[in-house]
Assembly symmetry: C2
């Protein structure tokens, strides 16, 4: 397929490279700054542009992958003069109907992306949606060319998927950060935690997270919990998180 | 070395099997019920016992691995008539001095254990401590026979290590549980989260967790945060956790 990629951030970079490797033709990459457009365009054999109005008008899909807060205004600009084209955004938490054209869709690869670390797409779940069956078919073929796990999901359900992903990804990572802060004060390197972190992630491949739960809160060990809260008395923020998480585990 | 293992729970089972495979001689396994003592004893070529007073008196190390809340009373019983022996407990959050004999130590393998899932010990960090240098040497040899990562750590610092582990393990796992609860209501299977979970765990092998942080709170996206809080309005517990974690990330 012939694609225009609008955006050059973490997600845009990872998707564009995966699509390029799957032999799709990316004709243009747009970004607000020509430097970032070029950085991605070079990697996927595309032309770079910082002028949204002059983008090609005959691409099969316009893939819009920008930050959530910029999405509505970028879409407004991008569709001008291309009202018959198929526009697709990649934002897990944004509804499909944000796109102001009749042919619209969503392609949401659920993963955490960074530009520095390219991800193997093959096993990433991709959730798709489109405003008509024909475009849904096209979008599904596109998604299947980079991943074996493609699901249809409505905007209404996708917001819950995105919310659930915040817990599994952003909040777990923040737990690592708080752990790092505690260790740092006592001169213990964070990497001693890595085998534990790996095992906790690995365990839920075969056991439900509820059944995998261990620790003082799960066994209602008030003594340990009280001691831990006391150790955190000089850090009210971490202490509050410890208390609320422990209560939630104990009541589960 | 000649060992007596007191306890037959998750941790005792995993350690005893690792020590047995490293060709140490486990002479007895004690548990309150003979059934659970037998279940472990069979796996490590040891005799089973449910009578703590009749345990062997000439083992090199008495390894006490029971729940934190039972540890003090089990130790009291176990040391009777063995006041000259070397007693070692395995509890990350309990001080060495809980052991009421002059020759005492701690061997804390930092990992989450279950009886069903045997863990490769080789890469698990083991934190050790002993009341005298000679016993510390013996304990270090024992630990090094099952793991390549053995560290000396005082009781005072170990409580912080254990606290940090609660964040990396128990609290991250609870984030998975909350995610599962959100998905379940919308008929989405939890296993769609596994690639994301794996990547978040994998990322902190090369990047500090603080630098790895992504998501609406990290980019101060009030719109998404408010929408998520609204989606959780029928679940005040999860909503509170979402709010507090997001604030903590945003302020980090």
């Amino acid at each position: 397929m012939k694609l225009v990629v609008i955006g050059a951030g973490n997600l845009a970079t990872n998707i564009a490279i995966a699509l390029y490797k799957a032999r799709h033709s990316i004709v243009q990459v747009y970004s607000r700054t020509i430097e970032s457009a070029q950085a991605l365009a070079e990697k996927v054999g595309a032309k770079a542009s910082d002028d949204i109005d002059s983008l090609s008008t005959d691409a099969d899909i316009y893939l819009v992958s920008v930050t959530d807060s910029a999405l509505a205004s970028v879409l407004q600009q991008a569709v001008k003069g291309r009202e018959g084209a198929f526009f697709v955004h990649t934002a897990g938490s944004m509804p499909m109907d944000l796109i102001p054209t009749p042919r619209r869709g969503v392609l949401y690869p659920m993963q955490t992306f960074s530009k520095q670390r390219l991800i193997e797409f093959a096993s990433i779940p991709i959730f798709i949606e489109a405003s008509n069956d024909k475009d849904l078919g096209g979008l599904e073929r596109l998604a299947r060319s980079v991943s074996q796990r493609v699901y249809n999901l409505s905007s209404a359900d996708r917001v819950y998927l995105h919310l659930a992903a915040v817990f599994c990804s952003n909040f777990t990572n923040h737990c690592y950060t708080l752990s790092d802060e505690i260790l740092r004060v006592h001169g213990i390197p964070f990497d001693v935690m890595l085998p534990l972190i790996d095992e906790v992630a690995e365990k839920v491949h075969t056991v439900t997270p509820k059944d995998a739960q261990t620790g003082p809160a799960a066994r209602h060990d008030r003594n340990v919990i009280e001691r831990h809260l006391q150790l955190l008395s000089d850090n009210p923020n971490i202490q509050q998180i410890y208390r609320i998480m422990s209560n939630s585990i104990a009541n589960d």
